[in-house]
């Protein structure tokens, strides 16, 4: 159980991976939003990231304060090796389940 990820957790981890050094709340939210069309809240992003961090899947650190943020600091995230492994495993499982049946999801021709 502990080594598999929920769907939302996968989205977040993919986004963090993709953003690299630029991964923090705003960019993660926007990445998910622009690719999936889902509006998500900042609270959801951080609550999930914090849970992932407590499981050792991501780590975080604070950057410098910026005026646009009202003098608050950015909180950056990075995916840890355990996180990569868990994502790999979950995603593989999903792919295997989808194999061969994906066509059935297409609108009937």
């Amino acid at each position: 159980m502990a080594d598999f990820l929920g769907e939302f957790e996968q989205l977040i981890l993919f986004a963090v991976l993709q953003l690299g050094d630029d991964a923090y709340g705003v960019t993660v939210r926007e990445a998910i939003q622009s690719r999936t069309g889902r509006t998500i809240s900042a609270g959801a992003v951080y609550t999930t990231l914090e849970r992932l961090e407590s499981r050792g899947f991501v780590s975080s650190w604070f950057g410098d304060p910026t005026p646009a943020r009202g003098g608050r600091r950015k909180r950056h995230f990075r995916v840890e090796p355990d996180g990569r492994r868990a994502l790999r495993r979950t995603y593989d499982g999903l792919q295997r389940m989808a194999h061969g049946v994906i066509v059935k999801l297409e609108p009937s021709r």
Binding site: S41, G43, Y46, G70
Partner: protein
Amino acid sequence: MKPPLIPRALLSIVFREPMREAILGDLAEGFADRTTRSGRWNASRWYWSQTLRSIAARWHPTTEFPARPWSGIWKDLRYGARTLRRAPGFSLVAIATLGLGIGGTTAAFSVLDAVLLRPLPYAEPDRLVAIGHPDADTGYPSNLGFLTFRDWRDRTKSIEDAAAMRSWLATITAGPDGTGANAEPERVPAVRVSWNFFRMVGIAPALGRDFRPDEDRPETWRVVLLSDGLWRRRFGADPSIVGRTIRIHDRPYLVVGVMPASLEPLIEARNYSRAEIWAPIGYDDTTRDACRSCQHLTAFARIRPGVSIDAARAELVSVQEAMRREFPADYGSTTATLRPLRDQIVGDVRPLLFVLLGAVSAVLLIGCANLAGLLLARGAGRERELAVRSALGASRGRLVRQLLTEAALLSALGGGFGVLLAAGGARALTIAAPVDVPRIAGAGLDGRVLLFTVAVTVLAGFAFGLIPALRAWADNPRESLHSGQRSTQDATRWSRRALVAGEVAVAIVLLAGAGLMIRTMGNLLRVDPGFDPHRLLTMDLAFVGPPYAEDPAVFATQQRILEGVRALPGVEAAAFASQIPLGGNMDTWGFHAEGHPLYGTADAPSVERYGVTPDYFNVMRIPLKRGRLLTEADRADAPRVIVVGETTAAQVWPGQEAIGKRVRMPGVKGEWYTVVGIVGDVRHYELAAPPTMQMYVGQPHVTDSFVTLTVRTAGDPLSIASAARAIVIREAPGVAPAAPATLEQLVSKSVEQRRFAMLVLAVFAAIALTLAAIGLYGTIAYMVARRGREFGVRMALGARRSDIARLVLSEGMQLVVAGLVVGGAGAVLAGRLMDSLLYGVEPSDPVTLAAILVVVAVASIAAQIVPLLRATATDPATALHAE
């Protein structure tokens, strides 16, 4: 540009560091970005939505907000309605409790809103102030002289416009151009005002024109504006009245206009009477009454835009400071002050209205606590139902929403019922309230008040729905299908106990308020007013007009009326007085005692003056202390004598014999009067105010045109009223007597505000105590039912009935004691807040607190009796068999 404050505060509460900084930062960034791209409104909307969804995500990050958050709400509502129908008893009690609470609060708020919160019905009312010399007791603006008014107006820069007002009485003796001369003269409340008064407050006549500056002169002031009511009543709403003359006191007055129907004479009513006729003041420097120490005017001003109240007051004070140096003989140490007009008009009733709103809100609060308790108990009973629904796939959030929907449904029904009650309640309050509450007639249901009702309804729904819903959230319903229910029931029990303790506390606060007011009323009714108010009839008369131009003519008319009234059957004695105690007048004279250090200065004592006929002391039963009373022998040609009150004698001549001393009044140019007697003090302004300095002078020496006829009767004083009135009309042509009143009515009127506060508090305290007792009963009964088996086991093991009783009682008494501690502190605090309504009793009065202790003890024992009997009647065998 900063994001909206409220969601920011919510986020700070919900999220802890380090998440708080990150989220607030992210949202600030997004907000700034959206503000530049799509404007502040859209950015704010986005921020709100992010906030609410973030808070929801705090517990459920993966369940995204449904695209349509209201989907399924109909299902919830239908389900809720079914649930409520299934328990009609519970639902009816809940709706009635809520309806009463919400209705009462709404009614109280509608009054508070109409009287205190709404701006005065004048143009830019926030710039209007009252100005005057400070009142000795309150420090608020009081009367001033005409020249003082004129100089303040001309010398202050922060005052844009100012107007003065004085009392007046208009007896209409004939209609336009002599018509209606045969109709009975009508006494109409009136005032005289500076010509610019209506211009200053921003009200224009509906018909005709306003006063002109040249009409505000001693020789030209006989022009009038009529109220809409008077115009319709007396002149048949005839528009041609404008430009014609009517006769007042048998002199011609030109009608220049009619005021709009919407005009409410608030300033007039607060200071004098609900005026229906206005005339210019018509003073100039030479007018006899215009002097600086002739303090008989009230004054109002409009402050320049942008000038603060404090700045205006500071300037006025410094202007008066300079005038004091300029005219030391007129002012002595007299200063100046200024107060917002709204405070001056409604300030006195503020504590009363807050008592009212506080009392009904407290009852609503207790009602909500009771409902929360009921819902908790029901929630405990519904655990299985919730568990089943949960097992069938309903999420915890769904179940909580279901519970909240039920609460919302209940409170909406209660709110609807409450609005119905409030419509009647507001009217009942305007009738029950003391008559002198300004603007109370405007109380009623309107958009603002209904908005308040909606807010209260939503809050109430949350107040009683949230605790059970949170309990349901904290419990894992699935567990209760199989495991024991101990833990959740303990938590539920805890919540209910806290609720009941809270109810007891709130009830105690109300009881304390009621107790303090009852003590106050008791003290007031025990106050000796200094005269005997029983079987006393009073009737105000004004001898004005050509027949009464000379003092001897007035005096002779007075004598004829007294002779006629004395001859009436059932009359013991009759007298005239220029003013009577509790009559609402104020007539003080400068009192210059021979050899007194303040003789001839502006700081000489001011003494309340009563111009009386000799029988007055006998009529009022004012006791003679030393010397002699005024007699018929003190005629106009006899030496001038006065009788003084005990306080006057003691303060003006401390340690000396007052009788035989000489005094000049009202200024040092006046005649010498010799003190011949000392009588008991009377309470002049109100029963709660200590006696002032008083003195009596005979009508032959100072003949008054405005007098009160006082009659001591053998039976009901009102029974001779019409006969006395007929005598006045026969003996004094053109004089219209005012409506007769008994002195008992005046006494009762003077304690009216406090009696209203007492009634409100007593009624609501009784309701609060009953509700709290019901809550206590419910908790204990529930406890006994739940632990019946345990009691059975205990008794089987040898516990006596008294042990069980102690167990049950200690549970209840813990709650009561907790409530007493919190409520006691609240009671002392509430007492402080209503300090201005109290008389002769401290906010932390031990007698009141002790009485409350007894009342609460009795009520709480009564509430526990039935469950107690049931607990001790437990049959061990039955209880164990049930196992």
